[in-house]
Each structure stands twice: as C-alpha cells, then as structure tokens.
Subunit: 379 residues, 4 copies
C-alpha cells in the first residue's frame, strides 16, 4: 500500500493506516503524505518507511513505484486527502495500473465521480470507497435480515447522522478538520450533506437494499459566517416504495458521531446505532423484542466473517474500517490471481456508490433551493 | 366529576378515572358512560356510583346535575368519547356552567375547536385538554431549561411519535380502539396525524416555547384498506427560527408508544423519551453529558410540584395524566373561589392548544396534498 | 380503609393513600394519622375526611369504628407508622375483627412477627405486607418464567439494593425519614438491612421460588456517628441449591433506589431493574436476548392482571404499590363474602413473608458478628 | 516480536497479533506457534513470515534469534500458550536477554510467578502482562478520578465478571478453549477464578488504587463433570478500608463478557461496563449524574493518550489490548535506549500484578475450603 495524504497531523490518514495494519494482511510500503515534501518525509520517518519510498508528490510516487519490479512495488494506493484532491491521484493511479482505495466522497462532483467509474470499468481494476459504517458486522446482519425477508417488505427508513462539533465557528479557530470541510473549494458543494449526509444515504441504501429516488430537503447554514451547509433534514422516497427521513447535521450540540438507522417492514423493525455498534435491536409485531449481538453463532455469514472477537469483546470503528480494507484486499488479491472483479462479490463500497454519493449531494442542494416538493435522485 | 363516555370496555375512560382518583382530590360522582343506557348503568354500578346519578345520556346528566344544589352537583365533566362526540357535550356543559376536561383532540375540526374556545372565553370557565405528555415532570424541566436559556437559542427540534399497533389491518378484526380511530366519521380528517401527531406537535411547542409556523409533509396510508393516514413525516419550521422534523406513524412495527424529543440549542441539547420518562439527558459542547432524573432537589419548581415519589421510585403515564387533572382542579377550585382564570398560570393544555392541534391536522393534510414545499400553520 | 400513621409530613403514608385510591376500589374513611391529635386532625381535614372519624389514637379509632354499623365502619386498617409502632395496632385491629395491611417490615423483631402471624392464623383475617416490588407486573412475569421452567433449574441469584441517600450524616440535619430509620429504638436491630435488605431478600425468594437458607454476611456502619448498619453485602444459599449474592447499602453515593435482580438458570437468565420496571431482559444460551415489556399479549396472566395501561405507557412505583392493595382488597372482599382466605391465592406478601423478613434481619446480624462462615436462616 | 503459541486455530494468539500490529509500531518477525512443527510452519506461512524464522519450539526460537545480529533479531517474545506453558518460555526468554509480554495469568502458580518476578528484577528487562481491561481509556479515567479525590475516600467496590459460555459441558464437545481452561493440568488450580476472576481483581485494584487484603469466598463447580470451579463469589476487604463484592462466573447463562465495576466514595460513584467501554457514568450526591465519554477534551492525560479516534467513533477490546502493547513497547524502546525501567511509569500490568493474580487464586481457593470467614490475601 502507498498512501496519498495523511501526514502526521491529519486525522483520517492514521485511521486508514491502523485499519490497513490491523489484520496483518496489508503493509504500508510507501507514501506521498503531503504536498509539503518536508512534512511527507517526517511522516514517512515516523512510520518507519524506507526513506527512498517517501515521495514529494503523488505523481512522483506513482511514477517511481511503477518502475519498481512488480513484486516490489506497491499494489494499490490509499487516497486520504481532502475531497478536491481525490480525482486526479485516483485517475493517475488507475491509469498506471494501481488499484485504489479512497476516502469518501469519491470526488469533488458528479462529473469527476462518473469519470472515475468509467476508468475503473475500463481498466478492470479495484476501487473501494471507505463508507466505513457498512463495514460493521451488525450492519451486514441488518442488511441480510431485510434481504431474506425477516422483517417483510420495507415500509419506513429513518436514518440520522447528528454531530455537534460544528456548533460554533470552529473553522475560525484554526481547527484543520473544520477548515477544509467548510471550504467549498476543498470540500465541494456540500458541507454536512457531503461529509456525513452521504454516509447516512449510503447506509440507508445498503441496509434497505433499495435506492433513494426522490428527495424533499431543507438545508441550513446555522452558524454565522460558515460558507457551506452545516445542517440538513429531508423526506426521502425509496425505489421499493418505502419512504422515510434522512437528517445529517453538525450543529446538534453535544452529539458525537451519532449515526443511527431504523428500518421498519411489514413484520418487524430494526434499530442500530453506530456508537454502540455491537447491538442490533429487532422489534416484532407480537413477540418480545430481540437484542442481536455481535459475535454469536446465530448471525449470518457476512456478519461472522467481519468479526474478530467473541461476543462481549467489543469491536469498533477501526475494525469496521479494517473490514472495508480486508474486502478490498480480497479483490486486489483476486485481480492479481487473474480473476475478473465483481465488486458486489466483495461487499465493499465501490465506484458506483461513489457516483451515487455525489448525485445525492447534488439532488439535496437542488431540492433545497427549489420550491417544488420532490426532486429526483438519478444517477 | 361527571364522566361522559368511558364505559367498561373503553381504554381511555379508565385512564381518566384512575388519573383523577390518584391524589384523592377529585371524586367521580356521576356519569353518562355510554349512549347505550344499559352499558352506562353497568359501568356506574361497577364504579360504586349512586344509581340515581348514572345517566343514559350526557344531555340528561348535564340537565339533572344542574338541578342539584350547588354543593352536591358535579363540578366538572370529563369527556372521553371518540372525537366526533367532543364538541356537543363540551359546549352544553360549558353553557350550563360546568367546567370541562376533555381528551385530545379537542374536537372534530378547526371550526368546532374555535367555537369551543369562544365559549370558554365568554363563560370564563376552565377547559383543559389532556395532552398527557406535557404532564411529565421532566418535560416541565426540559421546558424550563429552554426558557431559562440553559441550552441557548433553540436551533433544531426533532420530535417523533412511532407506534406499531396499526401495522396490520386490525380495524378489520373487531379492535374497538382501531375501529373508531381509522374511521373518518368518528376520528376526523386525520388518522395517525390526529391521534398522535397532535401530541408530538404539542410537546415540541411546549418544550421549545415556540410555535410551528410552516409544514412540509408527507402523509401515507400504508396498510391496505385503511381509510385514514397511518403514517406521517414532515419538516417543520418554528416561529423562533428553529427548524426540525416531526414524525408520527402507527406502522412502526414493534414500536410501542415511543414518543421522544430532542431539542438542540446553541449551547446544549436535550433528549427525552416517554417510555423512560424519569430520565432527561442533557448534552453540552465541552463537558460531560448529564442525566437529569426525576425526584432530585436540583430540579425546577414545576418539575418538583408534579412529582409524587422520591428519585428512583418511577412514576409513569398515569401520574403524568394525574398532573393534568391536578392542574385543572386547581383552576376549578380557584374559579369556585371567585378568581379569574388564566390558563397559563395552571400549566395545563387549554382551548388554545386544542385549536392549534386541529389547525395542525389541517395544515398537514393541506401540505401533504400540495406540490408546494411549505404550507403555513396559522391559527 | 382507616389509616394509622401517615400525617402530612410523612412519606410513605401518602404513597399508601394514592396506591389505595388509584383503582377506585378502596376509600379512605377514617384515620389516626399521628400520636399528636392536632396533627391527626389537620391531616384528616386536608384529606376531606369526616372530622368525626379523624381520631387521636389508633386505639380510639379501632374502638369507635367497631361501634359503627358494619356497613359503615372501616373494613381494614393500613399501618404506616415507624417499625416500633407496627405490632400493637396490628394486633389490636385483628383482635377487633379488622383486616390489616402494613408497611414492611411487619414488626420490630421476630417474636412480634410470629405473634402476629399466630393471630392472623387464628382469626382467619387478611394481613398483607407492602413488599411493593413484588407488585410489579414484570416481577410476576419473571417469577412465572422460573416457575414454568423457562430458564431451567436456578443456579445463581444476584440481588442488589443500592441507595445513596444515607451517604452523609443526614440524620443530624433533621431529616425525618433518616432519623427514625437510623434509630434502633424505632427501626429495630437492622438499619439498611431491615429497611431495604428485607425487600431484596423478599424479591429474590419471590422470583426464584426458593427460600434463602444460609447467609454469610458483612455488615458495616460506614457513616460516622450512625447507630445502625448502613451497608451490607452477603453470600447466600437457597433451598433449591442455588447460591448468590445479596447486597443492600444506603451509602452508594448517587444511587437512587436501584433495586435489581438477576437470576440464572441452566437454560437462560433474567434481569430486572426497579428503576426501569417495564423491561425484563431474558438471556439465552444460543439465541438473541429478549426484551420482555409490560403490556404485551405474550405475558403471563399474573403480569397482565397487574397492568393498567397498554405497552409503552409506563407504569411505576405507585402502580406496583396499588397492585398489592388490590390483591389485599380481593382477599378482604372474599372474606366478607364468607370465603376462607388462602394468602397464596391472592399473590400478596403475607404474615409469613413478614416473619421471614424479621428472621432475615436476625440471621444477617448474627452472621455479621460471627467468625463462622455460614449462618442458617430458619423460621 | 516473536510469538510463542498462537497457531491459527487459537483465539488469543490472533488477538495479540492484531493488537500488536494496530499502531504500526511492532512487527511480528518470527514465531514458534505450536509444539507441532507442521502447525507452526503453516501458521508462519499464513502470516507471511520468513520461513527461516518460523521455529519448531520456543527454545529453538530463543536460541536462533539470539544468534542473529542485534538489529535483526526479535526484541521481545509474546507468550500466548495455555497457562502451564508460561513460566518456562518466559524464564528462558528473559535469561537470554529478550523482553516478555505474556497473556495472563502470568504462570501456573505463585511460586512460578515469584520466580519470574525475581528474574525480571535481576535482569532489568521489561515484562508486561495482558490484563487487557486496564488498557481501556475510561478505566484510566476512572482510576484518575479516584486518585485525584473526585469521588472522595473509597467506601465500596463491586466488581463482577459474569460469562455464560461454560453453562453446559462444552469441554466434552471438543471446544478447544474450554478444554484447556477446565483442565487443572493446563490451567492451574483455578478455573473461572483464574481465567476471569484475576481480571476482576486486577481491575478493582487498578481503579480503586488499593489492594485486596482479605477474602471470604464461595467457589462452585456448577456443571456436572467439570474438573475446576466455574463459579465464584466473594466478599472482599481492601487495604484502604473499603469493602465490596467480587464475582466471577462462567455459568451466567446468556451473558457474554460482562465485566463491570462500580466504585463508591464519600462524594460520588463510578460505573463502567466493559461491553460498552466508551461510557463511564459518574454519580453525585446532589447534582445530575454525568456520562463521561471517550475521546473528549475534558479527560485526563492517560485516557487521552490511550485513545485513537474522536468521540463517537467507538474503540473496543483490540484497542485496549493494543494500549497494553504500546505501553510495553515504550518500555522496550526506553530499555534499548539505555534507560532504567520503572514499570509504574509505563502503566502496563507487570510481574508484580502477575504475582498478585496467582496469590489471589490461592487465597480464594483457601477461603472457599475454610470454615473461617476471612482469609488474608498476602503477597
């Protein structure tokens, strides 16, 4: 693995490195950690990398690594830069034969996302998007329960992603995370809606097994001086006839990372909260609610395969993240073994999810500025 | 107290009787429990009433009781009939000098509600509406925290009322509760939106201290064959600039009576769930969340005054209901003592809340059938 | 009902009155609320009693009421005085033909308890003891699950009753509740162990269906200056071979009234907490945990019969208390109808439970002062 | 790092490997994964190790690695074998200059533990014991709150470790984990008490900052045919005057890995549950309870330093485990830099904790077989 972005003072770079390292299957061998070569070097040194493989730019990294013998060069790049530096390195990596794993959202806008998807389709390489939350075992259990009809035809989907860390004007206090996320030239057209709304939409579609097709949204910039939206709520309709509510806000004072979802079908309901991810509550029409817990033998194969510890030994965010990496790595290995790659088989978010995410941001913004009640979400 | 409706096989009548009896301040002295005189008699007997004061109709009750000496006759009527039999008995009672406590919604439509309010204003009598949930002590604490600025200016209000009991076509199985609630000739124009949506709206306005002024709603009839809506969700805007989401559904399979609300301000957030009503969670920007619990010395006066037991001795739905009755009784006593009645002083839902509830139902239906995004809620 | 004790400034008297009033089946008709006749009169007046039936002493009340015609006099007495004034009024009431309901513990010591039981047996009258917590519907469900073998043979019972209100020397600050409870001349030989330990023991025996037969206890007086124990913990053995832990402490700083119990059998486990009494968690060996909730159709008859509201409309402490009163009232009614009374049939704590409670206090104190590991609990 | 034990079909070996790998600071370079050389080879291959460094026995590994140049050989061994194979490899590693990290309990009995501690003291090398649960950030916060007097002088400590996985005779079904743990020739004199009771004792001493000095225990073998205890409960006294209850059982049907602790002081109480490790509840005498959450700025330095993700991004068991590894690695690095090692400085469980653990098992067994109430726990 070669990393693009993720110098020592970044947040998500370290998360990717730990997630990749956890299972002993992926080794960080090189990186272009910053557009500032000094910072890149310092990061590489702190990570015990061979100094000759710590590069000053992603372009240099891709070129130089390509010149190494195949069994020595990196297999894939991990792109953990702000959104406006997703497309170019991903494109270059793919065009030079490297697989790509990339932090969400996939790109800066729909056009970039679609272009990337085309390159993936053409090259047959593997591209995974770290919609982390679908990596949780009980999210996979929930998806499987819906798919196998346990709760009947889905009627309602409520998905929420409330955070509180942007309740004040933190971007004015030098907070690096806040600064680029609230800057449209780096983040793209969406603020909260891009940063976390896309996670909520992806989770809802992943569990319900159905796409969002119409949106009726309210988008706010609550904190004075902020350049992008920090609060959103919307009514949504799904392809299968279900409807629901999606909200994503970063001004829910005191909330942490409270992504949660409820899905109700004809026969039962499901409830999952990311902050206590090892519990899935199932509600029934005429019998006791059930507490599904990670690590038990009664779970579906997908849930079991994405679990490392016995029940009661809690797994968390890094493990969910690592599950995305492991699924991606299986794809990479199969590609190296000459197999054709069908992303669905590996159960990781792919380029198509990336396109949908960007289209979601677009549709929300369009809806929010329209007097019409419903705006289609088409890809 | 004389009761109108509430024969032995009804649900809410018994609730009213227990709530009224709990504190030993109110005595049931007469009743017209059913339009079927036999049923009314049987109910009166089971309740140990003097047979001469068990009446065949509310009209008879009001007339006969009025003829009794003032210190012997009932002081007020409690109306617990289906919605279409709210207005007439309430009007007649008020016009004959009896105070009225009435199950929500106040009437069948806005016109009736406004007419009742006029009679209340003219007669100076006391009318209370049993929006039970505002009777909980920690709801009063939440309201007080908002009012005193503890969480700062309110930005977001999320209020939900999911139930699951109408997930199937129970009105086709002889369920009496379901039958009248899903029958527009008895329930009014709103199904779920009238039955529980009005509670959610009332709670949101009570705690936030601000009125809902605009609505953008989706209304569904999910269960085939049902005559009224059984599912709703909407974006809402408040007078003070806050926005939020309100949902009320009766097809949330497996949910019980899961009314809950979250209010976020500039400085903190509040979270309360009716099913565990003795806990109020407060979230702060930079310090630990707090668990406010009923029965502690640190609570506001309104919370303390509406609590009967020390902390850790849970109170519930009947106690909240009884709090509405006790507030109403204070008003009745003051009126008897010759004082002018200002409903705000007693902290019970009044005729104006009733009018707002009916206007809410109207606005939701109007919004749901409109292509325009926002529909005003005006009274 | 005639009440002995329970003047306006007492805590438990009001609880008894509300519990008795809730269901409209029991009427307070007279009282001797205080040994101070003025206080008794004031209390009677506040409760709207006929002044001629507010008495200056319990002896006067029993004598005068007995002289009233049978259909006018009180049916039973409710004794809510401190522990040292339980035996005499109970004895006198029974010997004069009045049934008795009495706050726990039944008496000041084992001898008094046994003497009372003898009188009950001899007179055939009804005596109930308000071990409130067995009145909760889900406690009855738990008992039924054990009884019907759902969780298999019981192996472990953990019961805890931590409170925090005696963490400081509150009896030195004029706190009336604390003062008599920590005064051996009023409370008896046990402090926390009598006040709340007896509840814990009773609950454990009620749910497990088996008696505690051996005790290995540690008893502490943690707060300096206190005259009685305020903290206890003990290992216990049950008649059926199960073992467990019982703890009752009043110095668990910040705890409210956190009575809770876990019972594990060969096939499953049960968990119940008084502070959220409408939830019972069931754990299984190889399938999801279940959340049993009050008010559902799947519950046992005893649970259903002791519930007033549909699921999700929480009931609490007063309702549990009222359930004891209602069961007692059924006994009283049957006695009046000439039936022989078998306490087991009515499912209320009776004189035998009272004797066991006092014997429990004795055994704990004996164990705590002994170097021997195990002390038998015999009745 | 060189690993001893932990072939592919073992549980705890993989846990150690992932914990060591997570932060990119420790590399697995060699191993003797099984006493079966074929199994060892297969494991090494699956872990991408250089085949020349996959050894047939720990003795071979220690000898051969010692012959490698200092900058190429392993720095330390990680011992993850059953308890009876802890002492010999640890002794040999230390005597050959390798640091040691070892799964708990440290050895087979007190004598071995003390002997190991002597070697550690003599060699000045680093030995860490993976009492995982002290690696959780909020356990460190709890310890710090006690240490800094936030909850006042400690009065009560309740620590529980209920598991349910040995509720049936699983060792008769070929379950490898169960088989060695219930075999006294591999596990030592203690069953549940050694396997999980030592964790509970360690956690209680770590948070309370005080040693257990007296024990009054009941030890059971609940499941028929089992060779060792599977259930224990005991009253305990601490050096600082506090008392409490410790229970460790593996027949709590349906429980997972429910380690939890409550500590009450004069001014407040703490409550932590391993299964939801990112929450610490603090209870106060006269103000709202607080919910301390991992990842917030208000935490103590030790808590912050042992956290990888922002609040609301849950960390779990593997992260706590990794924290022990990271603390150990800091010690190893300092030793390599020529510094003298004071285990207290690194905040990892050390040889002295190991000795206390074995002495705890001994004292419990002694107490359980004695008629005397209290048995001292001395080291």
């Amino acid at each position: 693995m070669g990393m693009i972005g993720g110098s020592l003072d970044a947040f998500i770079g370290a998360v990717h490195r730990k997630a990749a390292a956890l299972d002993g299957e992926i080794e960080l061998v090189c990186g272009a950690f910053s557009s500032d070569p000094k910072k890149s070097k310092a990061t590489g040194k702190a990570l015990y990398l061979d100094p000759s493989r710590v590069y000053g730019s992603y372009a240099e990294m891709i070129e130089k690594e390509k010149q190494l013998p195949e069994d020595q060069r990196m297999d894939f790049v991990s792109i953990v830069t702000p959104n406006h530096v997703h497309f170019d390195p991903a494109k270059m990596a793919l065009e030079n034969g490297f697989h790509v794993i990339i932090d969400k959202p996939i790109a800066f806008n729909v056009a970039e996302a679609k272009a990337l998807k085309k390159i993936v389709d053409k090259t047959g390489l593997v591209l995974a998007l770290t919609h982390t939350y679908t990596g949780y075992p009980l999210v996979k259990e929930a998806r499987n329960m819906v798919k196998t009809g346990k709760i009947g035809k889905v009627r309602k989907v409520y998905v929420e992603y409330p955070q509180g860390w942007l309740s004040t004007f933190v971007e004015g206090t030098g907070n690096k995370q806040a600064s680029w996320r609230t800057d449209p030239s780096k983040s793209g057209a969406g603020g909260a809606i891009g940063d976390i709304g896309t996670h909520a939409a992806n989770l809802a579609e992943y569990i319900s097994g159905s796409d969002i097709v119409e949106i009726n949204a309210l988008l706010n910039t609550v904190v004075k001086g902020r350049q992008l939206d920090d609060d959103s709520s919307m009514l949504v309709k799904f392809e299968n006839g279900a409807s629901g509510v999606l909200l994503a806000t970063q001004v829910a004072a005191g909330d942490e990372n409270n992504l949660n979802i409820r899905v109700y079908g004809e026969k039962g309901g499901l409830e999952w909260r990311q902050e206590e991810p090892n519990t899935l509550v199932v509600k029934w029409l005429d019998k006791p609610k059930e507490i599904i817990r990670a690590g038990w033998g009664y779970l579906c194969d997908a849930a079991k395969k994405n679990t490392r510890t016995p029940s009661g030994h809690p797994e968390g965010y890094l493990e969910a993240f690592a599950n995305i990496y492991m699924a991606f790595a299986r794809g990479v290995r199969d590609h190296k073994a000459g197999k054709t790659i069908d992303p669905a088989k590996y159960d990781f978010p792919d380029a198509q999810d990336g396109v949908r995410g960007m289209a979601f941001v677009d549709a929300v913004i369009k809806s929010a500025t329209s007097n019409k009640k419903w705006t289609p979400l088409k890809v």
